[in-house]
Amino acid sequence: MVEVVSGIGLGVGLWFWFWGTPVLLTRHSILFKLHHLSVADTLGSMAIMAGLLVRRPREWPLLVLAVLSLVMWNTVLGYVLAYCASARQPVSVETPDGPNH
């Protein structure tokens, strides 16, 4: 049973990794890539760690700390990168009395 649950977690995690990472090699916008990569790295890595946790329950403090820091930092880093990458393009907003610079 442990093998099956662990295998499912590891398999789902690896699938997420291979779903989101190749987008980096395409020509999409950076926010599109950031979304796919954040999902792949955060969810995929969490599934992999859940699979590892099932196999080594006695090391739960270290693995839970890894999951918590992964969830926190990856999410916040994704926000910071999105903010920094999109802050350089000037956004002109069409308002009734003309573009708002």
């Binding site: 990794w17 291979f18 980096l24 890539k33 760690m49 693995l63 890894a66 992964l70």
Partner: protein
């Protein structure tokens, strides 16, 4: 080859994908994105190897990389943005 070793080889294969954009002279933010993915994946590979070998010193290094590595990345992102604004 056990299931864990098979998954480890898969993780190493996925680890190579973001390395290619870092070699191209592209946009700095794409390079930052790729390197943050490399950082996360490498620490997960460290955790996987520590489970396979049951050696938890390596696991500790993986967790430290996860928690401190991305924090340093955020400071670097803010620094690059500030440099971009001041034309530095």
């Amino acid at each position: 080859m056990t299931l864990l070793q098979g998954v480890l080889w898969g993780m190493i294969a996925a680890f190579w994908l973001p390395l290619y954009p870092t070699l191209r002279r592209g946009d700095i933010w794409e390079v930052m994105l790729a390197l943050s993915s490399v950082a996360t994946k490498s620490s997960l590979i460290l955790l996987m190897v520590s489970v396979i070998r049951d050696d938890w010193m390596m696991g500790l290094v993986g967790v430290i990389t996860l928690s401190v590595g991305n924090a340093g990345f955020m400071l670097l992102a803010h620094l690059l943005r500030r440099l971009g604004q001041t034309g530095g």
